[in-house]
């Protein structure tokens, strides 16, 4: 673990400060200074600085942010910045707290990003269920307008002005709208159906214009990068991932919570040192490393750091299999381990009915599939039904392999990543906890419905 990163707080630095959601508090703690510094720079220099910082998207895919910004065509006339605040990946609760505690840090990050990509109007797409956060963010936007930080003529050093508007847009309850192109369709007043890519949003996004879509946490890192420099930020991180990482730990741990931690911390340290271990002296069974769409890890795999690349390539993590001995092929022979995802870590102990847990996850994706692509629309339903009947002790012979086959038929064959979001954890659970599934199947003739399974089935 990088020692310098211990205890460093970037995006959670104002947590716990009274009235941290107010502009006066934010300014008193050095807010909007980075914006001044940024607007004295050339926009292309800001993009370079963000590139050098190794900042990677915190929404789930971990794509380098500076690189994403540099995809905006130079000749683009209208450029939009869209903030993805549609946090709905099960197990993830970081953006909601970030929005509630420090909305001005987001607005400043947006202002700097907009200056860098020449955007004049940015939208924050906030999840519909987050009514409380929507009120807080709207109040913060109103405060920033009143203070002249947003509007038709924001002064920049050197005497010029910069037009920058921010609109808060509420979703209405659809997980798929966290997918960036579905989000853009939803923002345009349509059903949240993902679009085929290419064209990528950077070329043709919102209202058919060049668009950058960034996660809340990603943009909240920008002021610190400008303020303290890309070298400092990159130095905090590990490998090709700069900065710190926010994780939300839930499930069977003594102290669940949202923590800002060094990239290099391992899952084991996280569970036992930060979160106080498993309650009741019970044994650890497994965890979901980054929201339920990521393949789980078992007890032999938790000495791995939470960093993006470690989770996709560390040799200690097993390859996900379609069925016993047949590794899943992501295309061109690439193997799947797991991914850092959204940082939502769900820990479960030895008492957990893993099959029921998996069935609950599958039911979620079946419910949230937008219905556009057949493999996902039909396949997620199959997975949910087969896994549920197995969970309630009514499995049929061959069900375990059937689930692997169906999942393999979804992954890679859909417009957006929701297909993988259901297929990957299904195959992952089968790979890591196959014995649990086999045991359920073996016991299926008897009436062995566990309480959690009955709950999921009802």
């Amino acid at each position: 673990m990088v020692e310098e990163a211990k205890g460093v707080k970037i995006v959670t630095r104002n947590f716990g400060v009274p009235d941290s959601h107010k502009l006066a508090t934010y300014r008193a703690r050095g807010g909007w200074e980075a914006f001044k510094k940024a607007t004295a720079m050339a926009p292309t220099d800001i993009v370079e600085e963000v590139k050098k910082s190794n900042l990677r998207g915190r929404g789930g895919a971990g794509f380098p942010t500076g690189l994403k910004w540099s995809f905006v065509p130079k000749e683009a006339r209208t450029v939009y910045l869209v903030v993805n605040a549609d946090e709905s990946e099960p197990g993830t609760c970081k953006d909601r707290e970030l929005l509630a505690y420090d909305p001005h840090l987001l607005i400043e990050g947006m202002a700097i990003a907009s200056y860098a990509i020449r955007c004049q109007h940015a939208y924050i797409y906030i999840r519909g269920e987050m009514m409380r956060e929507a009120k807080i963010v709207q109040a913060a936007i109103d405060e920033a307008y009143a203070a002249g930080l947003l509007g038709a003529s924001v002064p920049v050093p050197g005497g010029g002005t910069f037009r920058f508007d921010v609109t808060l847009h509420r979703g209405a309850g659809a997980y798929i709208c966290g997918e960036e192109t579905a989000l853009l369709n939803s923002l345009e007043g349509k059903r949240g159906w993902p679009r085929l890519k290419p064209p990528f949003p950077a070329v043709k996004g919102l209202f058919q214009q060049a668009t950058v879509v960034n996660n809340v946490e990603t943009l909240m890192n920008i002021p610190a990068i400008i303020d303290k420099g890309s070298a400092w930020f990159a130095g905090l991180g590990m490998g090709k991932s700069g900065g710190t990482r926010i994780v939300c730990v839930s499930g069977h741990v003594a102290k669940p919570g949202v923590f800002e931690l060094p990239m290099g911390i391992t899952f084991k340290e996280l569970i036992y040192d930060v979160c106080g271990g498993i309650p009741g002296g019970r044994k650890f069974k497994g965890l979901i490393p980054g929201g339920t769409s990521m393949p789980p890890l078992d007890a032999s795999e938790i000495d791995v750091p939470i960093e993006f690349d470690a989770l996709t390539s560390d040799a200690r993590i097993k390859d996900v299999e379609v069925k016993a001995g047949v590794p899943f092929d992501m295309g061109n022979g690439r193997r799947l381990k797991t991914m850092a995802g959204s940082g939502g870590i769900v820990v479960f102990d030895e008492t957990t009915d893993v099959v029921a847990l998996c069935a609950r996850i599958m039911r979620f994706y079946a419910h949230e599939s937008c219905g556009q692509c057949t493999p996902c629309r039909e396949g997620t339903g199959w997975l949910a039904r087969v896994c549920t009947r197995l969970a309630v002790g009514q499995g049929h012979a061959g069900d375990v392999d059937l689930m692997g086959t169906v999942a393999n038929g979804i992954a890679g064959n859909t417009i957006c990543a929701l297909g993988e979001a259901a297929a990957w954890p299904m195959m992952g659970f089968l790979t890591k906890f196959r014995a649990d599934f086999e045991a359920k199947l073996a016991a299926s003739t008897a009436t062995t419905m566990t309480a959690p399974a009955r709950q999921v089935a009802s």
């Binding site: 197990g91 999840r127 269920e129 997980y175 349509k190 839930s250 769900v346 847990l357 709950q455 999921v456």
Partner: protein
């Protein structure tokens, strides 16, 4: 009966339209506004929104039915959104849901006959570190236990009944959840 937006709602729509390059983009905010105003979105409200934004009613119908937060039918005013997704499930989310079902005598997806409560089994509501949890209005109820749930339900019903007393007979009061509730301290 043809519905009309109130004067305030009309002003808000005017302002909304200045924030988007076309009228269609204002559909979700206008639907939220219509639902706040009429309580739910029957055909009359759907047509009113379609006319206001000059959109085909079929498009508006498609959008309303795609998103889970838009209601086509009248439901209880205090919407209890109880999460049962994995983080909550592992910490007793289903027990909370079943406790509420027992207390109110309804199943998830139903409203109480008096119109006070509407119960929804929700997917992850992004408060996983404080599971099990539920949202009512803009208020988060975190780290729930059956006893805590009882207090919340009693309190909501009491406030709702007090409001009901002040209204003409037959008219249901609005939701009572407008305050921003206490939140987890760091």
């Amino acid at each position: 009966m043809a519905l009309e937006f109130s004067v305030q709602a009309k002003q808000r729509i005017e302002r909304l339209l200045t924030q988007y390059p076309n009228k269609q983009a204002a559909l979700l905010p206008v639907l939220h506004l219509a639902q706040d105003e009429f309580g739910y979105l029957p055909d009359e409200a759907l047509n009113l929104v379609a006319e206001t934004l000059q959109l085909p009613a079929a498009h508006v119908f498609g959008v309303i039915t795609f998103y889970t937060m838009f209601h086509r039918e009248k439901s209880g005013r205090n919407e209890l959104m109880v999460c049962t997704n994995v983080s909550c499930m592992l910490r007793g989310g289903y027990d909370i849901l079943h406790h509420i079902e027992g207390r109110l005598g309804i199943k998830a997806g139903e409203s109480t006959p008096d119109g006070c409560f509407h119960l929804v089994e929700e997917e992850c509501l992004a408060a996983c570190a404080n599971a099990p949890m539920m949202i009512c209005g803009d208020r988060y109820h975190l780290d729930l236990t059956p006893a805590k749930v009882d207090t919340v339900l009693d309190d909501l019903r009491k406030r709702w009944q007090e409001r009901a007393k002040q209204l003409p007979v037959g008219q249901a009061p609005e939701t009572t959840n407008t305050g921003v509730g206490p939140h987890r301290k760091f």
